[in-house]
Symmetry: D2
Subunit: 139 residues, 4 copies
């Protein structure tokens, strides 16, 4: 079921998304889903030292994208069509964020999944997102 | 953490939501969350025998509402403020639907959770929803 | 651009969605969008006389579905894939609800739009929804 | 109804969101809503030259945040609680993005609105978002 593993996904990021590849580390990719780390840096922070909403959104989006690719291979043209995200708690200062992504449906033209975001070491989720991806017909 | 159990929630439904109380059965209510059954009947069906979107929405909404009440008690004035729902698969014909609801955040004025809906006996989810509730200040 | 008009859509509802056709009246269907009326009846109400969330969801869903069909013809197999709905105000008691639906994107396999719901005669919206539909390839 | 105008909002951005203030220009702020420009730069782009999803999300989020502040004043502690965003079309290469934000509800503790994002000069929307903000009680 997994056609791209952790190393393959990280290499795909480095090659096709060079601008953001340093931000993200694939921690795990298996049949249960994918765990992605956001290496929090100054440019991700809002006043007060908390990770910004767009940085959390990017983490959720990339995590689900890679979870889909782990199942269908390097289809760079898959695009996010919808994301509904709930921001629930401030991330803890000074630690990375981890996103746990699950693919819930993988259809011919549409993939759907959800993502839970945590501060590393935290138990209460920072954010939760549902995402949909359009998959191009040519695969 | 649980201040209303399965029997208390079912009684609350019967008293305050008499119109729909017969549709729903609380299967489980504990620290992990709540499982609610939709007893599928003709009025829930669309042409072709599949459960309608609004009936699935109602199941998710009532499941999360009761999961919140199981933690805060019978606050009839809590209201849904947002629901984002992904419909992923047709429900199986002729079987009930089961919703698994989790409370992810319970703040002073806002509760957030998610719900996964399955056909009874099925493993792939029919729908997934994230929901937010506004909790009146007077509690 | 409009391939089914008000009368055609109402007839489609009566034929393919007989169970709910009496609830809904197509008020307008043109290049700008579609206006659908929910003829509020007792079965749509929650305790206190307000229209229930699932009834508002159904109104938004049917309005967008008909707005899509007004552009592509009677494709009964188009299905809702996502709905994100914000409930903002209690509907006024004793009046119908009106939904204004707009198609924002009509792609080969995916249609996206939004809906604003008002109490008849009211100026502040009761609810707002964004919806996505999957369109079967065979059209 | 407007308590902070275009100049006041731009100054607020420069002071409290220095890291991103150069990205955004408030084009208009009035009773109808707010128009915000994303000055597209290399760091906003994905491979192929299109604006990234997180950059579009950030534009929608900041536009709605400023639209809320234009009505309640500089409440830096207002936080996004939910965003549901539909990505509908690729932005045009080489032009800025414009976001039109409307406040649909401004309650005591919750604000709700929607945003439509366009490529400058384009007529078909690039993205559409519904957003909710929690407003701290102390205002």
């Amino acid at each position: 079921m997994i056609v791209m593993d952790k190393a393959g996904l990280q290499a795909f990021l480095a090659r096709d998304f060079a601008q953001v590849a340093d931000d993200f580390v694939v921690e795990r990719a298996d049949a249960q889903g994918l765990c992605l780390r956001l290496r929090v840096q100054d440019r991700h922070l809002r006043p007060g030292g908390t990770v910004s909403g767009p940085a959390i959104f990017a983490l959720a989006d990339v995590a689900m994208y890679l979870a889909v690719l782990s199942r269908i291979g390097p289809v760079a043209l898959a695009v996010t069509t919808n994301c509904s995200i709930d921001f629930m708690r401030k991330p803890q200062a000074g630690v990375d964020l981890l996103a746990e992504a699950r693919v819930l449906k993988l259809g011919r033209s549409l993939a759907v999944g959800d993502v839970m975001v945590f501060s590393e070491g935290g138990v209460d989720p920072v954010a939760r997102a549902g995402l949909s991806y359009s998959i191009p017909p040519a695969r």
